[in-house]
Symmetry: D3
Subunit: 126 residues, 6 copies
């Protein structure tokens, strides 16, 4: 199986159909950016089992919170975190942890993104 | 036990005597900054067991790589990671993972910091 | 009085009831993040009188403009700045000053946030 | 001709009437910030012919994508890029290129800003 | 007096002969960058008396700490801060304040830069 | 030819033997990071001819200056820029241009990195 196929399969596995759809929208406007993101991000990175999905999710969330992501990527990855089995308390603690490393403004800004994602997630999983 | 004491104990537990010494040097020049870092960073954050030390280390390393830390904090926390039992391969994979989220320059810059830390660590633990 | 109480009192003093309400909303979803922000941010930092409130506000605004805050924290702290007695001209000059240190895009982005805050502030204080 | 006039002329040349209008709005609320942006940004920088407009646009877009600009400046400069004759494919490739240097989240976030700008541009130029 | 002259005079006033020398070294290799920094940074910004020098120094230090400046600019501006009459305690408190807004790693990294500057300053002013 | 081979060939073409050696050092300590950087960075990105090498160099330099790269990557890419035929004046103007977008501290910090690279380059090409 080629790396691009490995990547798409991995996205479906960790982000579900909704995740595939999001990446397909990137692909519609920029086929090459999607190809690189899928091959490099999911074929090379997420498919390597040196770290497991929960661990990778912690790393991703911390990176996004630390760079001040305004929602596009954080929304996508908070959902992956919940699907991967991280609890609300664990995700809140990732944000708490980051407050010491990047300060309160980025922590609080990402909290309000998570609040929205979590509320939707709860509604969908009632 | 007061939070400040909890914090100092936690630093000793995870960063060893060398870690305590580093924080004492901060304290010598800026008692208040050290006090806040110990209370907030180690008393509040690392002492909470919602996440374990390995998980916290992944979050910390990702935050530092993502903000382009030039060595002061990365050196300190790469050592904590090795002490916490993360293998060389796992730490390299944290850096690999971050390359997709913050690009290759920050990944490669932190690689060379880790290379130095790892080489010292190996010498000390022969 | 415990540090957490000192912190809440300080928020009320500098940010008014509206500021307390904003922090209570953080607390509703993440009690620990609010606790750390109140204790560390307001109990430790704003309650120290080595620098006065106007000086602290200049430091805070500069930090937020420099890290590209998208509004959550800048809105909160522009209000505090106006309440602290900084004039419109002084706050505009903070933004002007920052343009040389972080470039025009972040200066102009924060200008449009301040424009909204100032317009609301004027309406409330007619 | 004074530098401020050179600057305003340059904005009109590269960003059109719409660009002048945007800068006039900055000027209405903060005359000094507009003055500095026009003199320094357009009188000093864009008016220098060591680099041509297409080259300057590549530099500007890369800087904005790399600092995680959330739209105010990127929208303005994507329009300038299209007016300068950069094709959709070339602009997409700027974003692709940046993905390796700042990671996929900032690349994808700027892609969605460009998508909006491009769609408007196409409608206006039918 | 032209803006460039106003700027050079202002540098001499606030940064002394050593400050002028530093900017002349920039000028030797890049006359235009020096010209823009002097005109925009010192002619436009520092020469405006809406904010006084102590206030501007607080804003500058906060911006540099927040963007993770590794020493070139922080060294220059810590010296200006001391010359402007800010005490060691006040400057340490700027760093303390920033720890809540950008996290401990950047605060501690800038502390060690300040430690060096302060030690030199003390030796020169015995 | 596989993408990894395309990538290594591209590095040799644009960065010469010295560039290959630098990437081989990354490979010695972290084979996977080197593989991803070569495939993604050079196989996918630099090998695409939608933009030419001079254009890509402008984009890269702007990204590195904007993210405050402290030298590892800027040194590598200033050399590529000179090899690609960008003149000293053009590279200085990239830095000048960036000063308006990210402020003077990052511009001046990257100037001193370029000064060193340029001085070595001149010595080697006498």
């Amino acid at each position: 199986m080629e790396k691009i196929q490995v990547g798409w399969k991995k996205i479906e596995e960790i982000a579900g159909e909704q995740g595939v759809k999001t990446m397909k929208e990137v692909q519609d406007f920029s086929p090459k950016l999607a190809k690189m993101a899928v091959e490099h991000g999911y074929g090379d990175i997420y498919s390597d089992d040196t770290l497991d999905l929960k661990q990778r999710t912690l790393i991703t969330l911390s990176s996004l919170i630390s760079q001040g992501d305004q929602g596009t990527a954080l929304t996508f990855h908070f959902k992956i975190a919940l699907r991967a089995g991280l609890t609300k308390e664990e995700i809140l603690e990732v944000i708490n942890h980051c407050s010491g490393y990047v300060g309160f403004p980025k922590a609080i800004a990402s909290l309000s993104i998570f609040k929205k994602v979590y509320s939707e997630y709860e509604n969908e999983n009632k």
